[in-house]
Amino acid sequence: EAIPAPKAFCKNLCHRHQLFINFRDLGWHKWIIAPKGFMANYCHGECPFSLTTSLNSSNYAFLQALMHAVDPEVPQAVCIPTKLSPISMLYQDNDDNVILRHYEDMVVDECGCG
């Protein structure tokens, strides 16, 4: 289910959109022991020049936004993950073996213009 973004924030600007995939909705709870679901957050929104200095942006994004303002042919800076965290999954395979697997950079914690 999509978790609504905080009201104060302009929705069209680059920010993290939270999305929780409940494994039960996919019928995967029958073989995934833990966790119960997966935070499939994603980054989306505009990176206008005026805000690249405040939208957790890279210097490159600031310059690209500046160039886009001068020449619209140059694409705008894009909204990308700037902080990611890992997840661990505990599940059972077809031979009833119990498997614990770690995956890096799976959950988006923060977004910014890059």
Binding site: W31, N97, V98, I99, Y103
Partner: protein, 230 residues
């Protein structure tokens, strides 16, 4: 909206949705590692996902493989004080080629630790099986002895490091014919002892659980730390 299930499964290293009949109990080792990782992810504490602190080894995939071997009920047990004989077999086919084995620990759970029935001292022998054993053929003579160990009493969990054996089996799957576990009772055999022996062996046969904890490192998911610095 058709969720690309097979893509996610492939990412998990699975070729189809598992359909387990029953949930296996999660061993405390895996449960603790999982909970520590969840807590660290929640607090945002960064740590090397490819180093397992509890086991002091590198790896990012832990598999608890269940023993698929059978008990042997031979009339002439190899020795008078033989308590039980069991084939141990672990299917390593789930390990993908790219994965590097960093741990293979055989866990023999002889049953709950109790203080009222310490039971007799045991000798425990693990040997290779040299030729496949089918159906009711006579038991092939055991091959090279891998482990010979005394056990104070038939209780608790005993660990054996089988990393070299598992690597050999993983590189040459045909060599993986499993192991023969034989448990002998030490000490003299007076009448009273005989009764206790049968009782101990029956209990052991009922409670024995064998599993192989296999840890592997997937190089594409575990960049060596030097590369990160670069």
């Amino acid at each position: 909206f058709q969720f690309q299930e097979y893509v996610f499964l492939e990412f998990l290293g699975l070729d189809k949705v598992p359909s387990p009949q029953t949930f296996q109990p999660v061993p405390s080792t895996l449960k603790k590692i999982f909970q520590d990782r969840e807590a660290a992810a929640t607090t945002g504490e960064s740590h090397d996902l490819c180093y397992i602190k509890d086991l002091s080894i590198r790896g990012n995939i832990l598999r608890l493989l269940l023993d698929q071997g059978l008990f042997l009920y031979s009339k002439k047990l190899s020795q008078a004080s033989s308590c039980l004989q069991k084939f141990l077999y672990f299917n390593l086919s789930a390990i993908k080629d790219k994965e590097q084995l960093t741990m293979a620990r055989l866990d023999l759970d002889l049953g709950p630790t109790t203080y009222y029935k310490l039971g007799p001292e045991l000798d425990l022998a693990l040997s290779f099986i040299q030729e496949p054993h089918v159906g009711n053929q006579p038991i092939p003579p055991p091959g090279k002895v891998l482990v010979l160990q005394s056990v104070r009493w038939p209780q608790g969990v005993i660990h054996f490091n089988l990393l070299d054996v598992a690597k050999d089996w993983n590189n040459n799957p045909k060599k993986n014919l499993g192991l023969l576990l034989e448990i002998l009772v030490k000490g003299n055999r007076d009448v009273g002892m005989n009764f206790q022996l049968q009782d101990t062996c029956a209990r052991l046969r009922h409670s024995l659980r064998a599993s192989l904890l296999v840890v592997t490192l997937h190089p594409e998911q575990c960049h060596s730390s030097s590369r990160k610095k670069r």
